[in-house]
Protein backbone atom coordinates (compact mmCIF):
# COMPACT_ATOMS: atom_id res chain seq x y z
CA UNK A 1 0.00 0.00 0.00
CA UNK A 2 2.83 2.30 0.99
CA UNK A 3 4.62 1.77 -2.30
CA UNK A 4 1.39 2.49 -4.11
CA UNK A 5 1.17 5.91 -2.49
CA UNK A 6 4.82 6.45 -3.26
CA UNK A 7 4.11 5.58 -6.87
CA UNK A 8 1.15 7.94 -7.00
CA UNK A 9 3.26 10.66 -5.37
CA UNK A 10 6.09 10.12 -7.82
CA UNK A 11 3.60 10.13 -10.71
CA UNK A 12 2.21 13.46 -9.50
CA UNK A 13 5.70 14.87 -9.01
CA UNK A 14 6.89 13.73 -12.42
CA UNK A 15 3.78 15.23 -14.01
CA UNK A 16 4.60 18.53 -12.35
CA UNK A 17 8.19 18.23 -13.57
CA UNK A 18 7.03 17.35 -17.06
CA UNK A 19 4.57 20.21 -17.33
CA UNK A 20 7.22 22.58 -15.97
CA UNK A 21 9.80 21.21 -18.39
CA UNK A 22 7.34 21.35 -21.26
CA UNK A 23 6.63 25.02 -20.57
CA UNK A 24 10.37 25.75 -20.71
CA UNK A 25 10.92 23.84 -23.93
CA UNK A 26 7.83 25.15 -25.65
CA UNK A 27 8.67 27.81 -28.18
CA UNK A 28 12.09 26.35 -29.00
CA UNK A 29 12.24 25.41 -32.63
CA UNK A 30 13.55 21.98 -33.43
CA UNK A 31 16.28 22.11 -36.03
CA UNK A 32 15.58 19.69 -38.85
CA UNK A 33 19.31 18.93 -39.34
CA UNK A 34 20.74 15.39 -38.96
CA UNK A 35 19.16 13.27 -36.30
CA UNK A 36 21.09 12.44 -33.16
CA UNK A 37 20.66 9.84 -30.49
CA UNK A 38 20.48 9.43 -26.75
CA UNK A 39 22.61 6.75 -25.16
CA UNK A 40 23.51 5.75 -21.67
CA UNK A 41 23.21 3.02 -19.13
CA UNK A 42 20.87 2.14 -16.32
CA UNK A 43 22.38 0.77 -13.15
CA UNK A 44 21.14 -0.67 -9.92
CA UNK A 45 22.65 0.85 -6.77
CA UNK A 46 22.87 -1.85 -4.13
CA UNK A 47 22.43 -5.60 -4.06
CA UNK A 48 19.81 -6.94 -6.46
CA UNK A 49 16.81 -8.37 -4.59
CA UNK A 50 16.44 -12.12 -4.56
CA UNK A 51 14.32 -13.36 -7.46
CA UNK A 52 12.08 -16.21 -6.37
CA UNK A 53 12.33 -19.47 -8.21
CA UNK A 54 9.35 -20.74 -10.21
CA UNK A 55 7.84 -24.15 -9.65
CA UNK A 56 6.83 -25.35 -13.10
CA UNK A 57 6.08 -28.92 -12.06
CA UNK A 58 2.39 -28.59 -12.98
CA UNK A 59 3.35 -28.63 -16.64
CA UNK A 60 5.91 -31.38 -17.33
CA UNK A 61 6.88 -29.72 -20.64
CA UNK A 62 7.88 -26.51 -18.84
CA UNK A 63 9.58 -28.35 -15.99
CA UNK A 64 11.63 -30.41 -18.46
CA UNK A 65 12.66 -27.30 -20.40
CA UNK A 66 14.03 -25.85 -17.17
CA UNK A 67 15.55 -29.08 -15.83
CA UNK A 68 19.09 -27.66 -15.79
CA UNK A 69 18.26 -23.95 -15.65
CA UNK A 70 15.48 -23.37 -13.12
CA UNK A 71 13.16 -20.50 -13.92
CA UNK A 72 12.92 -17.50 -11.66
CA UNK A 73 11.03 -14.22 -11.55
CA UNK A 74 12.40 -11.39 -13.69
CA UNK A 75 11.11 -8.38 -11.78
CA UNK A 76 14.64 -7.02 -11.33
CA UNK A 77 17.32 -8.38 -13.68
CA UNK A 78 20.74 -6.95 -12.82
CA UNK A 79 24.06 -7.95 -14.41
CA UNK A 80 27.40 -8.44 -12.64
CA UNK A 81 28.29 -4.74 -12.99
CA UNK A 82 24.89 -3.64 -11.72
CA UNK A 83 23.50 -3.00 -15.21
CA UNK A 84 19.70 -3.21 -15.15
CA UNK A 85 18.06 -5.14 -17.98
CA UNK A 86 14.52 -4.62 -19.30
CA UNK A 87 14.35 -0.89 -18.53
CA UNK A 88 12.40 1.04 -21.16
CA UNK A 89 13.67 4.51 -22.10
CA UNK A 90 11.57 6.94 -24.02
CA UNK A 91 11.20 10.63 -24.63
CA UNK A 92 8.34 11.79 -22.47
CA UNK A 93 8.54 15.43 -23.42
CA UNK A 94 9.99 17.69 -26.10
CA UNK A 95 9.17 15.72 -29.25
CA UNK A 96 7.15 17.31 -32.00
CA UNK A 97 6.19 16.77 -35.62
CA UNK A 98 7.17 13.60 -37.43
CA UNK A 99 9.55 12.47 -34.66
CA UNK A 100 6.46 12.11 -32.52
CA UNK A 101 4.06 10.71 -35.07
CA UNK A 102 6.29 8.43 -37.20
CA UNK A 103 5.57 4.80 -36.43
CA UNK A 104 8.47 2.34 -36.85
CA UNK A 105 7.95 -0.34 -39.48
CA UNK A 106 9.97 -2.91 -37.51
CA UNK A 107 7.76 -5.61 -35.97
CA UNK A 108 9.04 -6.56 -32.50
CA UNK A 109 8.48 -10.17 -31.49
CA UNK A 110 7.24 -11.48 -28.14
CA UNK A 111 8.06 -15.16 -27.87
CA UNK A 112 6.68 -17.79 -25.52
CA UNK A 113 9.72 -19.98 -25.08
CA UNK A 114 10.26 -22.64 -22.43
CA UNK A 115 7.18 -21.24 -20.65
CA UNK A 116 8.77 -17.82 -20.19
CA UNK A 117 8.21 -14.60 -22.12
CA UNK A 118 11.19 -13.60 -24.25
CA UNK A 119 11.74 -10.70 -23.90
CA UNK A 120 10.19 -10.13 -20.50
CA UNK A 121 9.49 -6.51 -21.47
CA UNK A 122 8.53 -5.54 -25.03
CA UNK A 123 8.55 -1.82 -25.81
CA UNK A 124 6.74 -0.41 -28.83
CA UNK A 125 5.36 2.76 -30.33
CA UNK A 126 1.65 3.58 -30.43
CA UNK A 127 0.25 1.92 -33.55
CA UNK A 128 3.39 -0.13 -34.14
CA UNK A 129 2.69 -3.72 -35.15
CA UNK A 130 4.09 -6.44 -32.92
CA UNK A 131 3.94 -10.20 -33.09
CA UNK A 132 3.29 -12.82 -30.44
CA UNK A 133 4.74 -16.22 -31.33
CA UNK A 134 5.13 -19.50 -29.51
CA UNK A 135 8.15 -21.81 -29.63
CA UNK A 136 6.64 -24.21 -27.11
CA UNK A 137 5.05 -27.63 -27.44
CA UNK A 138 2.54 -26.77 -24.73
CA UNK A 139 -0.56 -24.57 -25.02
CA UNK A 140 -0.41 -20.94 -23.92
CA UNK A 141 -2.97 -18.18 -23.90
CA UNK A 142 -1.72 -14.68 -24.49
CA UNK A 143 -3.76 -12.30 -22.38
CA UNK A 144 -2.75 -8.62 -22.14
CA UNK A 145 -4.79 -6.70 -19.59
CA UNK A 146 -4.72 -2.96 -20.37
CA UNK A 147 -7.13 -0.44 -18.88
CA UNK A 148 -9.86 -0.05 -21.52
CA UNK A 149 -10.33 3.57 -20.41
CA UNK A 150 -7.07 4.40 -22.18
CA UNK A 151 -8.42 3.14 -25.52
CA UNK A 152 -6.40 -0.09 -25.35
CA UNK A 153 -8.80 -3.01 -25.30
CA UNK A 154 -7.89 -6.31 -23.60
CA UNK A 155 -7.98 -9.49 -25.68
CA UNK A 156 -7.20 -13.11 -24.99
CA UNK A 157 -6.05 -15.60 -27.61
CA UNK A 158 -5.02 -19.22 -27.37
CA UNK A 159 -1.69 -20.35 -28.79
CA UNK A 160 -1.48 -24.13 -28.73
CA UNK A 161 1.65 -25.82 -30.14
CA UNK A 162 2.21 -24.75 -33.75
CA UNK A 163 -0.21 -21.80 -33.50
CA UNK A 164 0.23 -19.02 -36.05
CA UNK A 165 1.61 -15.68 -34.78
CA UNK A 166 -0.82 -13.14 -33.36
CA UNK A 167 -0.19 -9.71 -34.87
CA UNK A 168 -1.57 -6.67 -33.04
CA UNK A 169 -0.92 -3.04 -32.11
CA UNK A 170 -2.03 -0.67 -29.35
CA UNK A 171 -3.87 2.63 -29.58
CA UNK A 172 -2.55 4.49 -26.54
CA UNK A 173 0.58 4.87 -24.41
CA UNK A 174 0.31 2.51 -21.47
CA UNK A 175 2.26 -0.04 -19.47
CA UNK A 176 0.27 -3.21 -20.11
CA UNK A 177 0.68 -6.37 -18.03
CA UNK A 178 0.62 -9.61 -20.04
CA UNK A 179 -0.14 -13.00 -18.61
CA UNK A 180 -0.78 -16.61 -19.47
CA UNK A 181 -3.66 -18.03 -17.45
CA UNK A 182 -2.53 -21.59 -18.14
CA UNK A 183 0.92 -20.90 -16.64
CA UNK A 184 0.27 -18.33 -13.89
CA UNK A 185 3.99 -17.59 -13.42
CA UNK A 186 4.23 -16.26 -16.98
CA UNK A 187 4.10 -12.53 -16.58
CA UNK A 188 5.49 -9.85 -18.87
CA UNK A 189 4.92 -6.30 -20.09
CA UNK A 190 4.02 -4.44 -23.24
CA UNK A 191 5.31 -0.90 -22.76
CA UNK A 192 3.58 1.33 -25.29
CA UNK A 193 5.13 4.79 -25.70
CA UNK A 194 4.84 7.66 -28.12
CA UNK A 195 7.96 8.34 -30.19
CA UNK A 196 11.45 6.78 -30.24
CA UNK A 197 12.32 4.35 -27.46
CA UNK A 198 14.91 1.80 -26.38
CA UNK A 199 15.17 -1.09 -23.94
CA UNK A 200 18.30 -1.79 -21.92
CA UNK A 201 20.33 -4.90 -22.72
CA UNK A 202 21.88 -7.28 -20.18
CA UNK A 203 24.62 -4.74 -19.36
CA UNK A 204 22.05 -1.98 -18.77
CA UNK A 205 23.09 -0.08 -21.93
CA UNK A 206 20.64 1.55 -24.31
CA UNK A 207 20.52 3.80 -27.38
CA UNK A 208 17.47 5.75 -28.54
CA UNK A 209 18.00 6.38 -32.25
CA UNK A 210 16.33 8.85 -34.62
CA UNK A 211 16.14 11.76 -32.20
CA UNK A 212 16.03 15.16 -33.92
CA UNK A 213 18.09 17.94 -32.32
CA UNK A 214 16.34 19.51 -29.36
CA UNK A 215 15.85 19.48 -25.63
CA UNK A 216 14.04 16.54 -24.15
CA UNK A 217 12.91 14.82 -21.03
CA UNK A 218 13.96 11.17 -21.06
CA UNK A 219 12.01 8.76 -18.87
CA UNK A 220 13.35 5.43 -17.67
CA UNK A 221 10.71 2.86 -16.64
CA UNK A 222 11.49 -0.19 -14.55
CA UNK A 223 8.66 -2.51 -13.54
CA UNK A 224 9.58 -2.65 -9.83
CA UNK A 225 11.15 0.75 -9.24
CA UNK A 226 8.87 2.94 -11.34
CA UNK A 227 10.10 5.87 -13.41
CA UNK A 228 12.90 8.43 -13.36
CA UNK A 229 13.33 11.38 -15.67
CA UNK A 230 16.27 13.39 -16.92
CA UNK A 231 16.75 16.41 -19.18
CA UNK A 232 19.02 16.05 -22.19
CA UNK A 233 19.88 18.23 -25.16
CA UNK A 234 20.63 16.54 -28.46
CA UNK A 235 22.70 18.42 -31.04
CA UNK A 236 22.40 17.66 -34.78
CA UNK A 237 24.00 14.31 -35.63
CA UNK A 238 25.40 14.04 -32.12
CA UNK A 239 24.93 11.63 -29.29
CA UNK A 240 23.68 12.86 -25.91
CA UNK A 241 24.15 10.85 -22.74
CA UNK A 242 21.67 10.14 -19.97
CA UNK A 243 22.64 7.60 -17.29
CA UNK A 244 20.17 6.46 -14.68
CA UNK A 245 20.59 4.78 -11.31
CA UNK A 246 17.78 3.01 -9.47
CA UNK A 247 18.22 2.32 -5.79
CA UNK A 248 17.81 -1.33 -4.87
CA UNK A 249 15.10 -2.09 -2.33
Amino acid sequence: MKSRYRRILSAVLSTVVLIGGGALILGQRVNAAGEGKITGSVKLNGAAPHMKGIDMSKDPYCAKAHATDPGHLETVVAGANGGLENVVLYISDGLSGSALTDVPTAVPVFDQKNCVYTPHVLAMDIGQKFKVVTSDQTAHNIHPNPNPMTGNIPWNQSQPPGAPPVEKSWKAAEVIPVQCNIHPWMHGWFVVVKGPYATTDSSGAYTINNVPPGSYTVTAWQEEYGTQTQKVTVAGGQSATADFTFKAK
Binding site: W155, N156, S158, A163, P164
Partner: protein, 289 residues
Amino acid sequence: MRRTLRKWSPFIAAAAVFALAPALSAQLTQYDLEPRSGMESHIGNITGHAKDAKADYRRFCVGCHGELGDGNGENFPWLDPKPRDFQLGIFKCRSTPTGTLPTDEDLSNTLARGLDRSNMPQWSNLTKQQRADLVAWVKHFSPRWVSEKPGTPIQIPAEPEVTPERIKAGRDVFAKVQCWKCHGVEGKADGPSAATLTDDQGRPILAFNFTEGARPKCGSTDQDLYKIFMTGLDGTPMPSFADNIKPDEAWDLVFYLKALEPQKSKEKAIAKQLGLKPVDPNAPPPSGQ
Protein backbone atom coordinates in the same frame (compact mmCIF):
# COMPACT_ATOMS: atom_id res chain seq x y z
CA MET B 1 -20.05 0.46 25.01
CA ARG B 2 -16.36 -0.15 24.65
CA ARG B 3 -16.90 -3.88 24.58
CA THR B 4 -19.55 -3.51 21.92
CA LEU B 5 -17.18 -1.41 19.89
CA ARG B 6 -14.42 -3.96 20.22
CA LYS B 7 -16.81 -6.74 19.32
CA TRP B 8 -17.93 -4.93 16.21
CA SER B 9 -14.64 -3.35 15.25
CA PRO B 10 -13.73 -5.94 12.59
CA PHE B 11 -17.12 -5.38 11.01
CA ILE B 12 -16.76 -1.63 11.21
CA ALA B 13 -13.34 -1.90 9.58
CA ALA B 14 -14.77 -4.19 6.89
CA ALA B 15 -17.67 -1.80 6.34
CA ALA B 16 -15.21 1.05 5.97
CA VAL B 17 -13.26 -0.91 3.37
CA PHE B 18 -16.42 -1.70 1.44
CA ALA B 19 -17.59 1.89 1.67
CA LEU B 20 -14.27 3.02 0.23
CA ALA B 21 -14.12 0.38 -2.48
CA PRO B 22 -16.53 2.09 -4.90
CA ALA B 23 -14.74 5.39 -4.46
CA LEU B 24 -11.42 3.76 -5.36
CA SER B 25 -12.50 1.81 -8.39
CA ALA B 26 -15.14 4.03 -10.02
CA GLN B 27 -13.32 5.66 -12.89
CA LEU B 28 -16.18 7.71 -14.31
CA THR B 29 -18.66 10.00 -12.59
CA GLN B 30 -22.21 11.10 -13.26
CA TYR B 31 -20.80 14.01 -15.24
CA ASP B 32 -19.01 11.69 -17.67
CA LEU B 33 -22.11 9.56 -18.14
CA GLU B 34 -24.72 12.28 -18.58
CA PRO B 35 -23.75 13.28 -22.15
CA ARG B 36 -24.22 9.66 -23.24
CA SER B 37 -27.74 9.26 -21.88
CA GLY B 38 -29.11 9.58 -25.43
CA MET B 39 -27.55 6.17 -26.26
CA GLU B 40 -29.69 3.82 -28.35
CA SER B 41 -29.74 0.12 -29.01
CA HIS B 42 -31.07 -1.67 -32.09
CA ILE B 43 -32.32 -5.20 -31.69
CA GLY B 44 -34.27 -6.55 -34.63
CA ASN B 45 -36.84 -3.85 -35.37
CA ILE B 46 -36.84 -2.52 -31.81
CA THR B 47 -34.97 0.65 -30.87
CA GLY B 48 -33.99 0.95 -27.23
CA HIS B 49 -33.56 4.34 -25.56
CA ALA B 50 -31.22 4.61 -22.59
CA LYS B 51 -33.30 7.29 -20.89
CA ASP B 52 -36.38 5.05 -20.88
CA ALA B 53 -34.50 2.43 -18.86
CA LYS B 54 -33.70 4.68 -15.90
CA ALA B 55 -36.58 3.46 -13.74
CA ASP B 56 -36.05 -0.21 -14.58
CA TYR B 57 -32.32 0.06 -13.92
CA ARG B 58 -32.96 1.64 -10.52
CA ARG B 59 -35.48 -1.01 -9.67
CA PHE B 60 -33.81 -4.18 -10.96
CA CYS B 61 -30.10 -3.59 -11.57
CA VAL B 62 -28.68 -0.89 -9.35
CA GLY B 63 -28.38 -3.10 -6.25
CA CYS B 64 -25.56 -5.07 -7.84
CA HIS B 65 -24.31 -3.01 -10.79
CA GLY B 66 -24.40 0.32 -8.95
CA GLU B 67 -25.58 3.81 -9.82
CA LEU B 68 -22.53 4.39 -12.02
CA GLY B 69 -22.63 0.95 -13.62
CA ASP B 70 -19.23 0.09 -12.15
CA GLY B 71 -20.43 -3.10 -10.46
CA ASN B 72 -20.09 -1.56 -7.02
CA GLY B 73 -23.72 -1.74 -5.99
CA GLU B 74 -24.78 -2.28 -2.38
CA ASN B 75 -24.63 -6.05 -2.80
CA PHE B 76 -21.09 -6.06 -4.18
CA PRO B 77 -19.39 -7.45 -1.04
CA TRP B 78 -21.63 -10.52 -0.93
CA LEU B 79 -21.56 -11.49 -4.56
CA ASP B 80 -19.38 -14.09 -6.24
CA PRO B 81 -18.78 -13.84 -9.12
CA LYS B 82 -18.74 -10.04 -8.86
CA PRO B 83 -21.16 -7.94 -10.92
CA ARG B 84 -19.84 -6.67 -14.25
CA ASP B 85 -18.21 -3.24 -14.39
CA PHE B 86 -20.10 -1.72 -17.34
CA GLN B 87 -17.70 1.23 -17.47
CA LEU B 88 -14.98 -1.04 -18.87
CA GLY B 89 -17.19 -2.31 -21.67
CA ILE B 90 -15.72 -5.83 -21.39
CA PHE B 91 -18.27 -8.65 -21.78
CA LYS B 92 -18.01 -12.42 -21.57
CA CYS B 93 -20.89 -13.42 -23.81
CA ARG B 94 -20.40 -12.17 -27.36
CA SER B 95 -20.89 -13.29 -30.91
CA THR B 96 -17.95 -11.00 -31.81
CA PRO B 97 -14.18 -11.67 -31.77
CA THR B 98 -12.08 -11.25 -28.61
CA GLY B 99 -11.20 -7.62 -27.88
CA THR B 100 -14.32 -6.23 -29.58
CA LEU B 101 -17.63 -4.94 -28.29
CA PRO B 102 -20.62 -7.29 -28.27
CA THR B 103 -23.65 -6.59 -30.43
CA ASP B 104 -26.80 -5.13 -28.87
CA GLU B 105 -28.44 -8.47 -29.45
CA ASP B 106 -25.67 -10.25 -27.49
CA LEU B 107 -26.37 -8.01 -24.49
CA SER B 108 -30.11 -8.48 -24.78
CA ASN B 109 -29.62 -12.25 -24.93
CA THR B 110 -27.50 -12.15 -21.77
CA LEU B 111 -30.27 -10.21 -20.02
CA ALA B 112 -32.91 -12.71 -21.07
CA ARG B 113 -30.79 -15.77 -20.36
CA GLY B 114 -29.25 -14.67 -17.07
CA LEU B 115 -25.86 -16.01 -15.99
CA ASP B 116 -26.01 -19.47 -14.50
CA ARG B 117 -24.13 -19.98 -11.19
CA SER B 118 -24.12 -16.24 -10.52
CA ASN B 119 -26.56 -13.78 -8.96
CA MET B 120 -27.65 -12.55 -12.39
CA PRO B 121 -31.19 -13.87 -12.89
CA GLN B 122 -33.08 -14.35 -16.12
CA TRP B 123 -34.90 -11.18 -17.12
CA SER B 124 -37.12 -12.95 -19.59
CA ASN B 125 -40.14 -11.47 -17.77
CA LEU B 126 -39.26 -8.02 -19.11
CA THR B 127 -40.64 -7.01 -22.50
CA LYS B 128 -38.30 -6.88 -25.48
CA GLN B 129 -38.64 -3.10 -25.43
CA GLN B 130 -37.61 -2.94 -21.75
CA ARG B 131 -34.60 -5.11 -22.47
CA ALA B 132 -33.62 -3.00 -25.46
CA ASP B 133 -33.86 0.14 -23.31
CA LEU B 134 -31.74 -1.48 -20.59
CA VAL B 135 -29.15 -2.53 -23.18
CA ALA B 136 -28.89 1.10 -24.29
CA TRP B 137 -28.53 2.17 -20.64
CA VAL B 138 -25.82 -0.46 -20.03
CA LYS B 139 -23.97 0.86 -23.09
CA HIS B 140 -24.09 4.46 -21.90
CA PHE B 141 -21.82 3.59 -18.97
CA SER B 142 -18.78 2.93 -21.21
CA PRO B 143 -17.06 5.44 -23.49
CA ARG B 144 -16.23 2.52 -25.77
CA TRP B 145 -19.64 2.69 -27.43
CA VAL B 146 -18.90 6.21 -28.53
CA SER B 147 -15.43 5.51 -29.95
CA GLU B 148 -15.95 1.97 -31.28
CA LYS B 149 -18.44 -0.13 -33.16
CA PRO B 150 -19.33 -3.68 -32.10
CA GLY B 151 -17.16 -6.39 -33.69
CA THR B 152 -18.37 -8.32 -36.72
CA PRO B 153 -20.13 -11.46 -35.45
CA ILE B 154 -18.24 -14.64 -36.24
CA GLN B 155 -19.66 -16.84 -38.98
CA ILE B 156 -21.15 -20.10 -37.73
CA PRO B 157 -21.56 -22.63 -40.54
CA ALA B 158 -24.69 -24.79 -40.56
CA GLU B 159 -24.49 -27.57 -37.99
CA PRO B 160 -23.44 -30.84 -39.62
CA GLU B 161 -24.78 -34.29 -38.80
CA VAL B 162 -23.25 -35.91 -35.71
CA THR B 163 -21.16 -38.93 -36.63
CA PRO B 164 -18.79 -41.17 -34.63
CA GLU B 165 -15.94 -39.80 -36.79
CA ARG B 166 -16.79 -36.23 -35.82
CA ILE B 167 -16.88 -37.05 -32.12
CA LYS B 168 -13.51 -38.77 -32.37
CA ALA B 169 -12.17 -35.79 -34.32
CA GLY B 170 -13.57 -33.50 -31.61
CA ARG B 171 -11.62 -35.44 -29.02
CA ASP B 172 -8.46 -34.84 -31.09
CA VAL B 173 -9.18 -31.09 -31.12
CA PHE B 174 -9.73 -31.18 -27.34
CA ALA B 175 -6.28 -32.81 -27.06
CA LYS B 176 -4.55 -30.63 -29.67
CA VAL B 177 -5.53 -27.19 -28.35
CA GLN B 178 -5.25 -28.56 -24.80
CA CYS B 179 -8.66 -27.65 -23.40
CA TRP B 180 -7.81 -30.11 -20.63
CA LYS B 181 -5.15 -27.77 -19.19
CA CYS B 182 -8.03 -26.04 -17.35
CA HIS B 183 -11.14 -28.11 -18.02
CA GLY B 184 -9.50 -31.47 -17.18
CA VAL B 185 -9.23 -34.59 -19.35
CA GLU B 186 -12.81 -35.61 -18.46
CA GLY B 187 -14.16 -32.05 -18.47
CA LYS B 188 -14.36 -31.96 -14.65
CA ALA B 189 -12.62 -28.57 -14.40
CA ASP B 190 -9.69 -30.25 -12.66
CA GLY B 191 -6.89 -29.63 -15.17
CA PRO B 192 -3.40 -28.73 -13.91
CA SER B 193 -4.06 -24.97 -14.38
CA ALA B 194 -7.62 -24.93 -12.97
CA ALA B 195 -6.67 -24.06 -9.40
CA THR B 196 -4.74 -20.88 -10.22
CA LEU B 197 -7.18 -19.22 -12.65
CA THR B 198 -8.09 -15.58 -12.04
CA ASP B 199 -10.23 -13.10 -13.93
CA ASP B 200 -8.97 -9.76 -15.30
CA GLN B 201 -9.46 -8.19 -11.85
CA GLY B 202 -7.28 -10.87 -10.27
CA ARG B 203 -10.19 -12.62 -8.57
CA PRO B 204 -10.21 -16.43 -8.48
CA ILE B 205 -12.45 -17.95 -11.12
CA LEU B 206 -13.53 -21.52 -11.90
CA ALA B 207 -13.16 -23.32 -15.20
CA PHE B 208 -16.43 -24.74 -16.53
CA ASN B 209 -17.19 -28.24 -15.34
CA PHE B 210 -18.88 -30.10 -18.19
CA THR B 211 -19.85 -33.10 -16.08
CA GLU B 212 -22.23 -31.66 -13.50
CA GLY B 213 -25.10 -30.71 -15.78
CA ALA B 214 -24.69 -26.95 -15.33
CA ARG B 215 -25.61 -24.53 -18.07
CA PRO B 216 -22.64 -22.64 -19.53
CA LYS B 217 -22.88 -18.94 -18.63
CA CYS B 218 -23.07 -17.85 -22.25
CA GLY B 219 -25.75 -20.32 -23.31
CA SER B 220 -26.12 -24.02 -23.85
CA THR B 221 -27.28 -24.44 -27.44
CA ASP B 222 -24.82 -26.03 -29.87
CA GLN B 223 -24.35 -22.60 -31.49
CA ASP B 224 -23.64 -21.05 -28.08
CA LEU B 225 -20.92 -23.64 -27.37
CA TYR B 226 -19.40 -22.97 -30.79
CA LYS B 227 -19.37 -19.22 -30.07
CA ILE B 228 -17.85 -19.59 -26.59
CA PHE B 229 -14.55 -21.07 -27.70
CA MET B 230 -14.34 -19.22 -31.01
CA THR B 231 -14.80 -15.77 -29.41
CA GLY B 232 -13.39 -16.39 -25.93
CA LEU B 233 -14.99 -15.03 -22.77
CA ASP B 234 -13.37 -11.61 -22.40
CA GLY B 235 -12.45 -10.63 -18.86
CA THR B 236 -11.84 -14.30 -17.98
CA PRO B 237 -8.98 -16.76 -18.65
CA MET B 238 -10.98 -18.37 -21.50
CA PRO B 239 -9.19 -17.34 -24.72
CA SER B 240 -10.44 -17.24 -28.27
CA PHE B 241 -9.48 -20.26 -30.38
CA ALA B 242 -10.57 -18.66 -33.66
CA ASP B 243 -7.01 -18.75 -35.07
CA ASN B 244 -6.43 -22.35 -34.08
CA ILE B 245 -9.64 -24.26 -34.68
CA LYS B 246 -11.11 -24.42 -38.19
CA PRO B 247 -14.91 -23.95 -38.50
CA ASP B 248 -15.45 -27.62 -39.36
CA GLU B 249 -13.24 -28.77 -36.47
CA ALA B 250 -15.17 -26.43 -34.19
CA TRP B 251 -18.34 -28.44 -34.77
CA ASP B 252 -16.41 -31.63 -33.99
CA LEU B 253 -15.36 -30.07 -30.71
CA VAL B 254 -18.94 -29.02 -29.90
CA PHE B 255 -20.04 -32.64 -30.36
CA TYR B 256 -17.25 -33.93 -28.16
CA LEU B 257 -18.07 -31.40 -25.41
CA LYS B 258 -21.70 -32.53 -25.50
CA ALA B 259 -20.53 -36.11 -25.08
CA LEU B 260 -18.79 -35.03 -21.84
CA GLU B 261 -22.02 -33.58 -20.45
CA PRO B 262 -24.26 -35.83 -18.33
CA GLN B 263 -27.43 -34.94 -20.25
CA LYS B 264 -28.85 -37.56 -22.57
CA SER B 265 -27.81 -36.76 -26.12
CA LYS B 266 -27.03 -38.38 -29.41
CA GLU B 267 -23.39 -37.41 -28.89
CA LYS B 268 -23.26 -39.11 -25.49
CA ALA B 269 -24.82 -42.27 -26.84
CA ILE B 270 -22.32 -42.45 -29.70
CA ALA B 271 -19.36 -41.77 -27.42
CA LYS B 272 -20.52 -44.54 -25.10
CA GLN B 273 -20.86 -46.93 -28.00
CA LEU B 274 -17.35 -46.03 -29.17
CA GLY B 275 -16.01 -46.56 -25.66
CA LEU B 276 -14.24 -43.21 -26.03
CA LYS B 277 -11.52 -42.72 -23.41
CA PRO B 278 -10.49 -39.32 -22.01
CA VAL B 279 -7.54 -37.68 -23.75
CA ASP B 280 -4.05 -38.58 -22.53
CA PRO B 281 -2.21 -35.44 -21.37
CA ASN B 282 1.11 -37.26 -21.58
CA ALA B 283 0.70 -38.28 -25.20
CA PRO B 284 3.21 -36.54 -27.47
CA PRO B 285 1.66 -33.60 -29.35
CA PRO B 286 0.28 -34.61 -32.77
CA SER B 287 3.06 -34.32 -35.33
CA GLY B 288 2.95 -31.98 -38.27
CA GLN B 289 1.39 -29.17 -36.25
